[in-house]
């Protein structure tokens, strides 16, 4: 199926959470397109549905309704195992809390997504791991465990892990949320460099300073995509 340079297309996406008798509409009729090579920031206040959107984009969760095309293919109704396969091949995650596995070394953490690829030779995995770590300037810490390196370094390792599988898109969920401003800026520069090298990035953040690093910003409010003007108006209403 042709994708016309569009990597992700979502139409009228809805996500409803059901808890006991309460229905929570996390996303309501979201339309979004992400093109190849684009650096998109999804911003909005806490609870606006950013992380839910990212989970659906990353095939960690399924929408209640709506369409989701990845590379032109509908992916909203795939089986668990098909979604796992696509996650492994097409998507690289960068989490707010890094989510490195404490029992594995830096090298093993970066290698982890590659171990889920059937048939990839060990030598090829090692090569990719080395490349990814060199790209984030962490090759010298390969044998360390996560607890033995700083938070900033841990996030760089997490970025290397996301890159190692050469995904179509990097999904970053508040990647600076657990970092101080200096390390936060460093991670932002790293993402900017990756974008310049051709990576497609979708970043979720609530911090406008970091959102400005992206070339396009989408605002979410109460589960809906809103324009900048609408945001301003809503903020003014809230202040009034």
């Amino acid at each position: 199926m042709a994708s016309n340079g569009k990597l992700i297309e979502i139409e009228d996406l809805t996500k409803v959470f059901y808890t006991d008798d309460v229905e929570t509409h996390a996303l309501s009729g979201v339309h979004l397109t992400i093109s190849r090579g684009e650096y998109l920031a999804v911003s909005g206040p806490s609870g606006c549905g950013k992380s839910t959107l990212l989970s659906i984009l990353g095939l960690l969760d399924t929408p209640t309704a709506g369409r989701y095309l990845l590379n032109g293919n509908p992916v909203e109704n795939l089986s668990f195992s098909a979604r796992a396969h696509i996650r492994n091949q097409e998507i690289g995650f960068i989490f707010q809390s890094f989510n490195l596995i404490g029992d594995l070394t830096v090298e093993e953490n970066v290698e982890l997504p590659l171990t889920y690829r059937a048939g990839m030779p060990a030598a090829e995995r090692k090569r990719r791991v080395k490349e990814a770590l060199e790209r984030v300037n962490m090759a010298h810490r390969m044998r360390h465990y996560p607890a033995q390196i700083s938070g900033g370094q841990q996030q760089r390792v997490a970025v290397a892990r996301a890159l190692a599988g050469s995904p179509s898109i990097l999904l970053a969920d508040e990647p600076t949320g657990n970092l101080d401003s200096k390390n936060g800026e460093a991670v932002m520069y790293l993402l900017r460099d990756l974008h310049r090298e051709g990576s497609t990035i979708c970043m979720v953040t609530h911090d406008p300073r970091f959102a400005r690093h992206a070339e396009r910003e989408v605002h979410l409010f109460d589960g809906k995509v809103v324009s900048e003007d609408e945001i301003r108006k809503l903020e003014e209403e809230a202040e009034g």
């Binding site: 195992s81 396969h85 809390s97 989510n99 997504p113 841990q154």
Partner: protein, 809 residues
């Protein structure tokens, strides 16, 4: 402290699942130990029920130690030793035999004791009614028609008649005056055998028909001595050997063979049940101990998991100023309550299980009593084990809980990396230890089971199928030797004429029923080595014995009707006898002396199993019943078809010859095979039960650890799924975790088994202590069980919702 107990009770009530699991697990381990201990207490530690202090008592054995030790002393030797010893404060002699209460209806067969005059006083047993033997003549050998009856007999036959003393009881058609009633619980001084009547030694001839009391060459008495205070067993043994050497020097012709004496404590006496139990019960106790250790490890694992969920509580206590010792104390108190609850349940279980040992014995007339009982000692042991188990299982988790950092815990340990090696390592090590322990137990069980199967399937030297057995005793009916021989001849003639009977014979014993005797023998031309015991198993058998039992002859012939009282005395020996005493020589035509009489060997048979399914073949001498009449006769009838179907026809035939003849121990040779392997079966059943329980506990342990660590790693599983792991990857990962624990446990268990099973070597038959097929099967079974135990947590992990899992911290 009271506050600790109250709080502990509340905590345990709050977690009923944990409390129930921990209490039951400990109860299982404690009950296994207390059950075996109750048997040890009732047999090895309390070998003479009703006698309080037996620690300074010894039995005396002559010659090499063996399970077929013949009685060591003749009456004259006993008297000489008793009169000259300076190391013993008392030495009693006793001879146990079946007797019959006659004079009123059908004779009632009972097990009785011919006892020396000092029997009760040396043992310190005081009759509850009347007194003990008194000899007006002053000569013990002349005896007196007096009897002391057991509490059981007094209760059941005489309805606790308070005026029983002075009344008459007829034993083997001779009247005896009841002079006393033994106290409740006292059943004689041979371990595991329950006697019901005691008569003076001097009445031996009236009761058994033997004329041996003055014969120095006829050893028929077992003895028990009491060491003087301060005298060691070795010192006493030295003096007895010195005294015996003097006796041998004076009467060399009456003391051929090995006359060395060895003194054994009662717990390992070669006479009675302890010779069998002293080898097997300590091993069973060790296996039960391993099960208890496993239960403690299991509970320690549970406590570790529980401690994780109580980290905040511990942190708050520490931050409020509680010392680490105080926190440890509180946790230990909780564990003590769990342990004591486990002990109470174990006590209830032990009340039932202590009585199960005898259930392994088939119904025979031998009055075996090897059951345990729950007494003060058993209760104390249960209490101590419960305390020990509670502290053992609780110590490590308590110490670990006390070392946590309150600041980190209260900040909720918000971590930026998933999983923690340290947290699960101890729990995994405990689970691996459980696998290792259960492998050791299962390996032992496997070896015992294989050994039993080998013993049961091995050729015993006769064909046990289709052989009917029934016993009778002519002595109580007043038969003379000549009349008895004629009666026996007629029995054979009539039984053999019954339709369906293939052949029939008589014997003084039947295989594997503990009825065969052993005696000193003198093989013609054989010069014993210094201190060599020249003994053999001895039996008296009728014509066609080998033919009826289908025991192959190596050379010579079976006994025939012609081997009667007027013919030359003849004997049949087995290969073990021929090889030991006449190696490389022709045995046929040689002579062997037995009970002062020479017999010419006319046949050599294969080595058959008469004492048990597992023992080294012993030399055997068989002599014809028609040349050496015996009171106890066991009729062996080989039939075509089901042996039980011939019961009424055979009983009718015997009663046609004497309607008053009681038959007892009616069974089949096949049933005797069960008796022959009884100790192997006990070991197999209990080792197998402990092994299975251990496997279940280990499976629960592995399940607990894997379920716990999987739950702890839910977030990590979410990360892995986000990185592309599918359900199969996660499922495999969890299974691999369980398998890794199992493999470590199996490796440690195999190493431990290789070391420990060597101690079982002497109890195994046809299987080595290092039996790789057994070890391999057990190891594979444990791996399979571990994988099975991981199945549920693995499935649960594989169905984790990654989006939800990632939100978990």
């Amino acid at each position: 402290m009271l506050h600790d107990f109250r709080f502990a009770l509340r905590q345990l009530r709050k977690a009923p699942g944990f409390t129930l699991a921990a209490v039951l697990t400990l109860a299982l381990g404690i009950a296994a130990c207390s059950t075996i201990f109750s048997w040890i207490d009732s047999t090895l530690l309390d070998p003479i029920p009703g006698v309080a202090h037996t620690g300074n008592m010894v039995t005396i054995q002559r010659g090499e130690r063996s399970v077929q030790a013949p009685p060591p002393l003749s009456y004259p030797d006993y008297v000489d030793l008793r009169n000259h010893t300076s190391v013993l404060s008392g030495l009693i002699a006793h001879h146990e035999d079946f007797m019959a209460i006659t004079g009123s209806g059908e004779p009632e067969r009972i097990y009785g004791v011919l006892a020396s005059s000092n029997y009760f006083s040396v043992l310190g047993v005081h009759p509850i009614l009347g007194t003990t033997f008194r000899f007006p003549s002053g000569d013990e050998r002349l005896g007196a028609p007096q009897a002391v009856i057991s509490y059981y007999l007094w209760q059941h036959r005489f309805a606790r008649d308070p005026a029983i003393v002075g009344k008459t009881i007829q034993i083997n058609r001779h009247n005896f005056t009841i002079v006393g009633v033994a106290p409740r619980g006292f059943e004689g001084c041979t371990s595991g055998l329950r006697a019901q009547i005691w008569l003076p030694l001097g009445v031996d001839q009236q009761v058994t028909g033997s004329r041996r009391i003055n014969n120095r060459g006829d050893a028929w008495l077992n003895v028990v001595g009491v060491l003087r205070p301060g005298v060691g067993r070795q010192q006493a043994q030295n003096e007895f050997n010195l005294l015996m050497q003097r006796i041998v020097a004076r009467y060399p012709h009456s003391h051929r063979g090995d006359n060395r004496l060895s003194l054994d404590p009662l717990w390992r006496s070669p006479f009675g049940a302890n010779i069998y139990l002293s080898g097997s019960l300590p091993i069973l106790l060790a296996l039960a101990g391993a099960l208890l250790l496993l239960a403690c490890t299991n509970v320690a694992g549970l406590l570790l998991v529980r401690a994780v969920s109580r980290r905040r509580e511990f942190a708050i206590r520490l931050s409020m100023g509680a010392s680490r010792a105080r926190l440890v104390r509180q946790l230990i108190v909780e564990n003590l309550m769990v342990g004591i609850a486990g002990g109470v349940i174990a006590l209830a279980i032990t009340f039932f299980t202590a009585r199960t040992l005898s259930s392994f014995l088939p119904a025979i007339s031998l009055p075996l009593d090897i059951n345990g009982k729950v007494n003060g000692a058993v209760m104390l042991v249960i209490f101590l084990i419960a305390i020990l188990a509670a502290t053992t299982s609780g110590a490590v988790p308590a110490l670990r809980a006390s070392t946590l950092s309150p600041v980190r815990v209260l900040k909720d340990e918000s971590s930026t990396s998933s999983g923690s090696l340290g947290r699960s390592r101890l729990a995994a090590a405990l689970a691996a230890a459980q696998i290792a322990l259960s492998l050791v137990l299962l390996a032992c069980a496997g070896l015992f089971v294989r050994s039993l199967l080998n013993a049961e399937s091995a050729n015993p030297g006769y064909d046990p199928d289709h052989v009917y057995l029934a016993s009778y005793d002519l002595k109580p009916l007043g038969y003379t030797s000549a009349k008895a021989m004629e009666f026996n001849r007629l029995v054979l003639q009539r039984v053999q004429a019954l339709p369906g009977v293939v052949s029939a014979t008589l014997a003084s014993f039947s295989p594997l029923s503990f009825t065969i005797g052993s005696d000193d023998v003198t093989p013609e031309g054989y010069v014993p080595h210094p201190h060599e015991s020249v003994t053999a198993d001895t039996g008296t058998v009728g014509p066609g014995y080998l033919h009826t039992l289908r025991t192959p002859l190596v050379s010579g012939r079976d006994f025939t009707d012609a081997d009667n009282a007027s013919a030359e005395p003849v004997a049949i020996v087995n290969k073990a006898f021929a090889n030991r005493y006449w190696p490389g020589q022709q045995s046929i035509g040689k002579r062997v002396q037995l009970s002062s009489r020479w017999y010419t060997v006319v046949g050599v048979t294969v080595n058959a199993k008469y004492r048990g399914l597992v023992y080294t073949p012993a030399p055997l001498v068989l002599v014809p019943l028609m040349q050496d009449n015996r009171n106890l006769i066991i009729l062996h009838v080989r039939v075509a078809g089901d042996s039980a179907a011939f019961d009424s026809a055979i009983q009718r035939t015997l009663h046609s010859l004497n309607p008053d003849l009681p038959l007892f121990d009616v069974s089949t040779l096949k049933q005797n095979m069960v008796l022959g392997g009884v100790f192997q079966r006990i070991m197999s059943v209990f080792a197998g039960t402990f092994g299975l329980l251990a496997m279940i506990l280990a499976a629960i342990g592995v399940y607990g650890v894997v379920a716990y660590t999987t739950r702890q790693r839910t977030h990590e599983i979410g990360v892995r799924m986000a990185l592309g792991a599918d359900q199969r990857d996660v499922f495999r990962q969890v299974l691999k975790q369980g398998l890794r624990i199992a493999m470590i446990g199996v490796a440690v268990g195999l190493a431990a088994s290789l070391v420990l099973t060597r101690y079982l070597r002497g109890m195994l038959y046809g299987v080595g202590a290092t039996d790789w097929p057994t070890f391999t099967i057990v190891a594979l079974a444990l791996c399979a069980v571990a994988l099975f135990a991981c199945f549920v947590p693995a499935r649960r992990a594989a169905t984790v919702n990654p989006a939800l899992a990632l939100r978990m911290e």
